[in-house]
């Protein structure tokens, strides 16, 4: 532990040194404001350098001499050197920053934002928001107000899942039970509604076709349980009961009461099913010991027929591998299913209209020497020209524009966009800075290439196109058939993510997590399910989940009251 600590402190000090260097290079740099969608050209040699730390592992780490980053820097006069989480927990990394008191200019501490706020590490945004139109535009006043902390001020903004203009969502970014297109094709596109249907199809397919195209043995079902990613195993019961992703609990819409999904009859049925399938050898025996990297490489070979996961957790990496390896043709791509525990229930796997997670986001720290410049940087990144550069790339290199002003990509451009090499040396999305989805300010195109309907449809692999045609769907969302009943309190995880052991509820929450981590593998692997389940329930009750539920109830009541008050 000492070694890691020292390394982290060294890293932190290194980063802060580079932050200082960045600020020193720009004496008297102007901090003017720009109109929305417009950016000023900066003189060369005047480029400010910021530093940023994101408490997530990098999906792509861009090169130092990245081409688009350079173009953006020339246009807005600033660039940002991003550092990502490596081999640590988000809260560990943030804990080390706090202990050292030195921060990068920008920080997204994930679930540890509240701790940064309490450590006095962040700059309050209230005096700045009005000066930067692109930032102000990002949220409505009510939405901004939800970011207020205990002292009534705003310290960060969530960069994701915000829709500009018309919603163009094509992909289920969240959770689902996924199934490979080849399984559906073989089964002649059946209607799969319940967990039982799902496992039956997987089993039948595996009996008929035990291997992949290159002779590797299929794994009918796997689940990731590593650390915080164990949601792939543990939170399906809330969805199976027809509730949306509140993450840590169910909110009963009628009674407005918090329900613990870990102890519901559905939870027991779900784990009993997993237990049966495990005994049958349908579930990957290595599921409980695999790391995230191992899981992703397993998926990338195409051997895994199905799993429960969130799209962002696997698809960006895995789908790109299928594309570059030319294995899409075998139907390895994953299709989401909106399963419920019984037939004929509504499901809410997908919740439309974007999700505002106020518990985390990007913040500017007290170590930043040029606060105005940092705000201007965020503001500039949200202007349409720069936004296009970030996500579409360079015109005529990464995309073309037809006579109607619609953006499109050639086959080569698409291959490039999926190529890890191209992503590191050419593209620069500043992926954890604020970004829009939905419709571009030109009113025609999508903010993101993946949401451009023509682009989306053209890039679908053949087997997935066939699935869409068979089920009469235009997008992945259509396949799920979700209804939207999420209340104004949604999502509750934006509160529970920040819970720490300093409250009774938080302590219960941590213990519940530890208990589930230790017991769920036992439950699934048990030879006597009912006995193990009862033992698990006893151990679980000892964690005092009622303390957690009580605190969540308090927050739910507060949110409902705040919403009612805002309508008046």
């Amino acid at each position: 532990m000492k070694k890691t600590k020292i390394a982290a402190v060294a890293l932190a000090s290194l980063m802060s040194v580079s932050a200082l260097a960045g600020c020193n290079k720009t004496p008297g740099a102007s901090s003017g404001t720009a109109a929305p969608g417009e950016t000023k050209q900066a003189a060369p040699g005047q480029i400010k350098e910021f530093s940023a730390f994101f408490a997530v592992p990098a999906t792509t780490e861009i090169n130092k001499d990245n081409e688009v980053q350079k173009i953006i820097a020339e246009k807005i006069g600033a660039k940002c050197n991003e550092t990502w989480l490596a081999g640590q927990q988000p809260s560990e990394a943030v804990g080390v920053f706090i202990a050292s008191g030195e921060y990068p200019d920008f920080i997204n501490g994930g679930d540890a934002m509240k701790a940064l706020y309490e450590a006095g590490a962040l700059i309050a945004w209230d005096d700045y928001i009005d000066k930067y139109p692109n930032i102000k535009e990002f949220f409505s006043d009510y939405e901004w107000s939800q970011f207020r902390q205990s002292d009534g001020k705003i310290y960060w903004m969530n960069p994701f899942e915000n829709i500009y203009g018309e919603d163009k969502t094509t992909t289920q970014n969240g959770e689902a039970f996924w199934i490979q297109a080849r399984v559906l094709e073989w089964a002649k596109y059946p209607k799969i509604e319940t967990l039982d249907d799902y496992f039956k199809v997987l089993e039948d397919y595996n009996k008929a076709n035990p291997t992949t195209h290159d002779g590797k043995k299929n794994i009918p079902y796997t689940m990731l349980c590593e650390d915080w990613r164990y949601f792939c195993l543990e939170n399906a019961p809330e969805f199976l009961d027809g509730y949306p992703n509140d993450g840590s609990c169910i909110v009963d819409v009628n009674t407005k009461k918090i329900v613990d999904y870990n102890t519901t009859p559905t939870a027991k049925r779900y784990f009993k099913k997993l237990n049966e399938e495990y005994a049958k050898g349908v579930i990957d025996t290595g599921a409980f010991t695999q790391t995230y990297d191992e899981y992703i490489s397993k998926l990338s070979t195409g051997v895994v027929l199905g799993m429960c996961d969130q799209w962002w957790d696997f698809a960006y990496t895995v789908n790109d591998v299928f594309k570059t390896q030319n294995t899409e043709q075998y139907g390895y791509n994953y299709i989401p299913l909106g399963l419920t525990i019984d037939k004929g229930m509504e499901n809410q796997w997908y919740t439309s209209g974007g999700t505002l997670n106020v518990s985390s986001g990007i913040a500017i720290t007290t170590s930043c020497k040029d606060v105005e410049g940092a705000f201007k940087f965020i503001d500039d990144l949200l202007s349409q020209e720069i936004h296009d550069l970030r996500f579409w790339g360079v015109k005529d290199v990464d995309y073309k524009v037809d006579e109607n002003g619609m953006y499109y990509r050639t086959e080569e451009m698409r291959k490039n966009a999926a190529d890890p090499n191209w992503k590191t040396k050419h593209l620069c999305t500043y992926s954890y800075f604020p970004q829009w989805s939905g419709t571009s300010r030109d009113g025609k195109n999508a903010m993101m290439p993946a949401e451009q309907l023509s682009e989306f449809k053209d890039t679908l692999p053949e087997p997935v196109k066939k699935v869409f045609a068979a089920y009469g769907a235009n997008t992945y969302i259509d396949l799920l058939g979700s209804v939207n009943k999420a209340g104004p309190w949604f999502p509750m995880y934006s509160y529970s993510n920040n819970m720490k052991t300093d409250t009774k509820g938080g302590e219960a929450w941590t213990k519940m997590g530890e208990c589930k981590h230790a017991w769920l593998p036992k439950v699934v692997m048990s030879k006597e399910f009912d006995k193990t389940w009862d033992e698990y329930m006893k151990a679980y009750a000892a964690c005092k989940p009622e303390d957690f539920v009580a605190e969540m109830q308090q927050e739910l009541d507060r949110r409902i009251a705040a919403y009612e008050a805002s309508k008046k």
Binding site: M1, K2, E92, G286, T289, K500
Partner: protein, 319 residues
């Protein structure tokens, strides 16, 4: 031999006392300055950090600092001792620490004795160099190596399946009974060669006339090792044992942190990981400090106990 060195040192000290101290001091400015530097180093890096211990008695918040954080007495210790995971982690740490300690001594001494019997100088040097090289790898590399060789398609499983006829690969990281031994094995692999160096050095200091006398008496090779080499090593062994006993609760971190998983967390979680989970990750720095103090107190008790035992049996001791 250690005992001789200590004796000669103390007689030198006596000699200093008889002469004029100031005149003596003037003649050795370098010695004085360097020892002063060492003293300052010790104070800064070993004593000043102990001040941080007061955070264990506070509800420490970095924004408020030492002075303004709320004092909570022993509340953090109470919280610590009420936590079941803490006891689990303590047990695992102690178990792995003791296993490591035993293996450390047995393998290092055995290796030194065996190597000492090698008569071909080149082979001896060669084996010694190779054997201590893993010491220079960082633990994270060793962890990756252990993970790879024990993976379901790793060398061990390949061997078991192709040579021993196992049908299914063994998932070594999913069986609780294996974990402590995997850790012990990794420690042995990494440190045996390095730990043996000091014994090899001590062996070369043994008076050759003892062996010659034994030869005259017709002692076999094994008898020479048993009646001369081992007893001569005894003071060295005792001193090293006393030093290492304080480190029993530092049973490693990377191995347990990386190789542990949900299935075996009951045996893999150690105190340092517990401190990370419940201290740093929860921003409860006070709880982490309290656990750290607990570790130090236990280490101190162990060292004192060891020293007291050594005193009783008349062996070499630290203080």
């Amino acid at each position: 031999m250690a005992r001789n060195t200590i004796n000669s040192l103390s007689s030198a000290d006596l000699g200093v006392k008889k002469t004029n101290k100031w005149a003596e001091a003037k003649r050795q400015p370098f010695l004085l300055i360097s020892s002063a530097l060492l003293l300052i180093y010790g104070i800064i890096f070993y004593y000043v950090p102990v001040l941080g211990w007061i955070t264990a008695f506070q509800d420490y918040k970095p924004a408020k600092g030492f002075l303004k954080s709320q004092w909570v007495g022993f509340a953090k210790f109470q919280k610590l001792f009420e936590n079941k995971t803490f006891y689990l982690a303590f047990r695992n740490t102690l178990a792995m620490g003791v296993i490591n300690l035993v293996f450390h001594f047995v393998t290092a001494i055995a290796f030194a004795l065996i190597l000492n019997e090698v008569r071909v100088m080149f082979a001896k040097k060669f084996v010694q160099t190779i054997s201590y090289m893993p010491h220079f790898l960082s633990w994270i590399i060793v962890t990756a190596i252990v993970r790879d060789i024990l993976a379901s398609d790793g060398i061990v499983n390949e061997f078991l399946m192709n040579v021993c006829g196992n049908k299914m690969p063994i998932d070594f990281f999913a069986v609780k009974g294996y974990f402590w031994w995997i850790v012990a094995f990794a420690n042995v692999w990494k440190e045996t060669g390095w730990n043996a160096i000091i014994y090899l050095a001590a062996i070369t200091a043994i008076d050759p006339s003892l062996y010659e006398a034994a030869d005259m008496d017709g002692a076999s090779r094994f008898q020479k090792v048993w009646y001369i080499t081992l007893p001569s090593l005894r003071p060295t062994i005792m001193i090293l044992l006393l030093i290492n006993i304080g480190n029993v609760l530092n049973a490693g971190f990377e191995l347990q942190y990386i190789l542990g998983n949900d299935v075996i967390s009951d045996v893999s979680k150690i105190l340092d990981v517990f401190i990370l989970d419940w201290g740093i990750s929860q921003f409860d720095f006070s709880l982490g400090t309290a656990a750290g103090i607990f570790k130090s107190v236990i280490a101190l008790i162990l060292v004192c106990l060891g020293n007291w035992t050594a005193k009783r049996t008349g062996d070499e001791r630290l203080f």
